[in-house]
Structure formats: C-alpha cells, structure tokens
Assembly symmetry: C3
Homo-oligomer: 265 residues x 3
Amino acid sequence: MVHPCVTLLTDFGTGDGFVGAMKGVLQRRCPGVAIHDITHEIAPGDIRAGAWALATAAPWFPAGTIHVAVVDPGVGTQRAGLAIRHCDQWFVGPDNGLLSLAASEPEELYELANPRYLQEPVSATFHGRDVFASVAGYLAAGTKARKLGPAVAAMERMVVPSTFRTDDGVQGEILHIDRFGNLITNIKASDVSGPGASVRFAGHTVLGLSRTYGDAEGSAPIVLVGSSGYLEIAVRDGSAARALGGEARVGATVLVVQSSGRETE
Amino acid sequence: MVHPCVTLLTDFGTGDGFVGAMKGVLQRRCPGVAIHDITHEIAPGDIRAGAWALATAAPWFPAGTIHVAVVDPGVGTQRAGLAIRHCDQWFVGPDNGLLSLAASEPEELYELANPRYLQEPVSATFHGRDVFASVAGYLAAGTKARKLGPAVAAMERMVVPSTFRTDDGVQGEILHIDRFGNLITNIKASDVSGPGASVRFAGHTVLGLSRTYGDAEGSAPIVLVGSSGYLEIAVRDGSAARALGGEARVGATVLVVQSSGRETE
Amino acid sequence: MVHPCVTLLTDFGTGDGFVGAMKGVLQRRCPGVAIHDITHEIAPGDIRAGAWALATAAPWFPAGTIHVAVVDPGVGTQRAGLAIRHCDQWFVGPDNGLLSLAASEPEELYELANPRYLQEPVSATFHGRDVFASVAGYLAAGTKARKLGPAVAAMERMVVPSTFRTDDGVQGEILHIDRFGNLITNIKASDVSGPGASVRFAGHTVLGLSRTYGDAEGSAPIVLVGSSGYLEIAVRDGSAARALGGEARVGATVLVVQSSGRETE
C-alpha cells in the first residue's frame, strides 16, 4: 500500500529539534510515510504568513495529501485542533485561521477531540508533536477522519482584505512581501485592462504591466502578474521592498487607475 | 525490504552543498533510503546545541532509525567516530559528546575504524560525508554494526549541570534557549510542589506555574512545564530571552523556593 | 518500479511556499517520488553560489538522479530551460551557467520547449514550478528526455578563474567562502609541493599545509586541502573570513610560492 504523503509547515525553525520530533511521531504512526517540508521558517506566531505559504504550496500537491501546519501562539488554550478536507486533501492544524486560505471550502471538518489518536499525555505546549503530527500519522496510515472527533460546522477564518472600486479604478493593498522583496497585492490581473491603465503606490506611478522581472529598465519599479495570478510590484535584479523603503509594507494601498482621468487619493 | 529511515543533524547549513553530498552518499550506499532532516542550522561548532536538538527529536522516531549527527570541530584529529545502539536506534557521529544526551544508555558502541565502510580516501575535513554518511548508508542497507570496527567501552559525555538542594529549595540553571526565546532549565516539574512555590531568576520572582503560554497576563514572565518535562520561562506572544536581556543566558541560575521562607542568594 | 530520486536547489528560501509548490508538482507528476533538498538558501540571484553548491553535492548521488536547480534572475526572458545528461545523472534548470559546474561534460542537452511536459499555462515568473519541477517529474516517471524538446549543442558556461604560473609559483584566487568562514581557492593540492612551499594572501604568509582544522595553533590562519581537493584557508574554531576581514572576499589573490625565492607581487 502506498501511503499518501504528508507535508509540514511550522514556525519552529529546525534548530531546537521540535520539527524532528514531529517527523519521529509521523514515522511511528505510519512507518515509511513520505514527509515533505514546506517550511519551518515562518516568523514565530505569524499566522498570516503561514497561511499564505500554505495556500501557495498546497494546491499543487495531489489528492490525498495530508498537510500539517502549526503556527500556534494559542497552543494549550481553548482553541480547537482541526482536520479539514478540501479538494480531496486533508489539512491538520490549529483552528486559528492558519488553514483557512488553503482549505477555503471545507468539505468535512472534525475537531481533534478523540484522545485515542493523540500522544498520551498531550503536553500543554507542543501540540505540533502530540496532536497534529500524531493525527496526521494516523490519517496517513488509513484511519478514517470521522473517528478523530466530532464534525464541526465552521472554522476560524483569516480575513483577506478585499479590493473595491473607486471613481477611477480599483483600490487594493499589499498582502505579502516575498523573499525577493516583491510586493504581492490582492488585485487580480483582470482588474487591469486597457492600454491606459496605471498602477499607483508609495508615490510611484507605473504605466502598464510588464511580463517578466527582466522587462524592467534600470531600477524603476514595475508591475506584473505574479505566479499566483495577482499583481505584484518588483524591481529588476533587486528588492522592491528595499527600494521603496518604509512604504512597502503589508497593508499599504495600491491603486489601479484605468484611464487618464483624475483619481481621488 | 523496507529500509530503516535515516535522520540528519549538522551544523553545516545547506548553502555550500555539504548536506547534499551526505544525502548523495546515503543514496549510493542504500538506494531509496528515506532521509529526514532534523536540522542543519546548529551554530558552527556548538556541540551542546546539537546534542540538545538530537535529544529532543530522536526518542520520537521508531526502533531501527539511524541518526547521523555531525557537529565536529575536531574533524580529522584523533577523536574517534562512533556507532552507538540505544533503545534499538543507532546513532552515528563523532565521539565528542554530541551523541551522549540522546544515546545516554548505550547498548553497543563501535569505533568506525573499518575502512571497508568508509569513503575511499577519507578526507581530513569532511567526515560527515566520508565516514558518517557512508557508515549510516551501510547500516541502513543491512550491514551488521559489529563489522564497522572494534567494540569500545565508553564514549565522551557531555556534562549536563545537575540541580541541587539549597536551604530553601532547588537551584538549577538555564540549559537552552529555543527559537521562541523560551528559557529551558534543568529543573524537573516534580521539584516544584505546593501552592507556595515560586521561581526566582534574573531579579524576577514568579509565583506558581502556568499551564500554557496563553496563561500569561501582559508581558510578565511566566514559568511552565515545557514539552520536555522541565521548567521553562516564557513570555506571552514574545521572547523571554529578549525581555530579560543579558540575564537570559545559558548557565544563568534559576531558583525554586518551595515555601515563603528566606533563601540564601 | 523504483523511481530515481530528485534533488532540489533554489534561491527561493522556504518561507513563501514556492519550494512547497515545486514539491507538489513533482508529486503530481510522479506520485511517491523521493525528493531531497540540497538547499533553498542560495542568496537571491547568486548563480555562482548555486553552481558551487550543486557541484559540491551532485557527484555523490547515484546514477539516474535528477537534479533540479533554480537560481534564475532571467526567468521569463529568452533564456532557455535545459535538461542535461552528465555522468548518467540529469540536470534540469535555466541555461544561465547554474548547471555548468556540476554538469560540465554534457552527454545530452535538450531545450525544454515541448509544452506537453510543462504546467499549462506557464507563468512568466515561476518556471521552477511550471517548467523545471514539471519536467523533472515527467523524467522521474519515465518520460524520455528527447521528448522534452530539441537537442541543443551547447549551454551557457560559468567562467571559473584559472590559476597561472608566476616566476615563483602559482597564483590563484578565492572562489567560495563557506558557512564556517573557510576560504576555498582554485589552487589544487598538487600545486603545492616540497617542504618549502608557502601560501601568501591578504598580507599573511603560511608555511606548509596543515592536515586538519585542529592542527592550527592559536588563531593564526592555516592552509589545508579541503574536501573538494582544493586549498582552503581556515582558522581553528573560528572563521577565516571574519579573522581576515575585508581581504577575505571571493576573487582575492592567493599565491603559492614553491621555494624560498622572491616572488613578484
């Protein structure tokens, strides 16, 4: 029998051995299960960044994959642990919004309440090992998810800021800054149409979209459609985040102006 | 035949390709063997931190697992290489104390002296590849450990500071600071008993134990029983190491006072 | 059927989920394929460092291994993607020199032009996922490389500086600085012969070669033959890069003087 694979995403770093302990529990529960690290370098407690990375990676895995994600500042408190089915994949982690971008349309939701599938005893501070890795190992080995605990109706959701129309175009904001310093917005490519469109942010106005990072001339910022389908602001062979300084932060406004008319700023 | 899995722990980082070379040797010696990274981010030469991470992770893996650990400032000198059996797992690495916390009760100890199981020639500076990965690959493929070299009676051991009783309670110290800035001590939960117990460190006195990180009020430090069973000092949604500044270092004194009596400080 | 294993080397970091997306595509194309991370911590756009790490790791893997390497500042521009056979391994990545140190003697070279083996549509900014991981997954699953696109005759090559003879000896330079601060040169061990040989760099003169890092006395720099067979400059229990300061940079001159004669500097 080929087991489904398990992915891991945490804010644990690797230097303390916590991730190793999770891998050990997975191997005990499901000997030989393949484990793929997504990342362990989410900044401590940064649920938003963890949710983003999970949503970037998870859809590309095959059906059956079990994703374990742990960015969990509320570990040991009343917040529940969940196993969620979405697009025939399973997502296991705390109910704090971390899973909600990737598993946005849950088909099944269970609270991890059945002690039979947890490490005994469950520590108050390391559910990554005692709850989430344990449950994922059982799932990988063939345990039915409905045995893990009661079905629940809803989960905590992370609020993703929406774009909205202004008199002149579409206003959005920066959602994420990636390792390369690219500023990824919540504005879809389809919001920029027509040759006259321009994008305004942090005192800059960029006319039209580039296709690749290499299309930029010099160090002026460009706007292109990133690999997730949203507009991103980039600088050739450099970091837009660094080039734009303090203005390049998550939440900063980005305005797409469709025509040459005035905008309200 | 299902091979046992191999774990890797080093201070190599990953940017130079050293860890990749070790993985290659493992695949050559035992095609298809599953490799699980524990960490490669131990600070260069920090044997103590490597031993800690290995001891945190290894016990959770199943019997048969082969752990390769390399933090080895004495590479190429007279220090021996070892394969140690402990709790039906194997530990392979330099004889410098690195393995001694995880493999604390060796059932078998062999010096890696048989050149048949080493890379030929053995470089003077990269035993991770030429000795330890090579040997681990042979072990994973079924080689008997007694063929690796002569049995030896003892290994270098890392000294872990003991706690001791004072007139008023138990005195211990900080053993490790984790990624979250939690300060992990050598004091067992059972050393704190009774409602009047308090914990003193770095000019702070904390009354009683909290159960979770979330139990803290504001930014005052709390003390709780960590996932390894020892007392740790934490700050809610923050880093105790940062909050306590220079006093929060490995080796700093922590005092558990059992009653309201005087203590000798 | 046992699939060959796939290695990954990128400058993506892991925090954004890009590497996870590549692993997902690989699992979709070739369910169960083993994936081994070489590194994702190459500095953004540093093709030279990526080529170095790949050349350090790849030769140790068994025949059949498929190496995917992506350090690709020109993504989406006219630069081609390649699959290269070298020593019965496959190398998949951009044609920008990144593969040229490891796959230095190509036996077959194909341009990745056949859309059937790419993610549909191919994004302009993430060929790691849409081109290279996709192609590697097909290769791992058994697709013949000649189906990937037209055979090509040559690839971009990274220029590795040569050593040259001077009146007194051999002049080379620093090629790479590793995590430990060791300075790795392009001078072969065989260029240093005779008991009178000395090595000059950054105002220092070191007489003779040491065998191990532990051979150094105090904090004076030593020269030894590193694990790749080239001379490297090291400091015991410390970083030569830090000890030598600004002089210890990639490209800095290193001179091996064979006798006690004068050298021209």
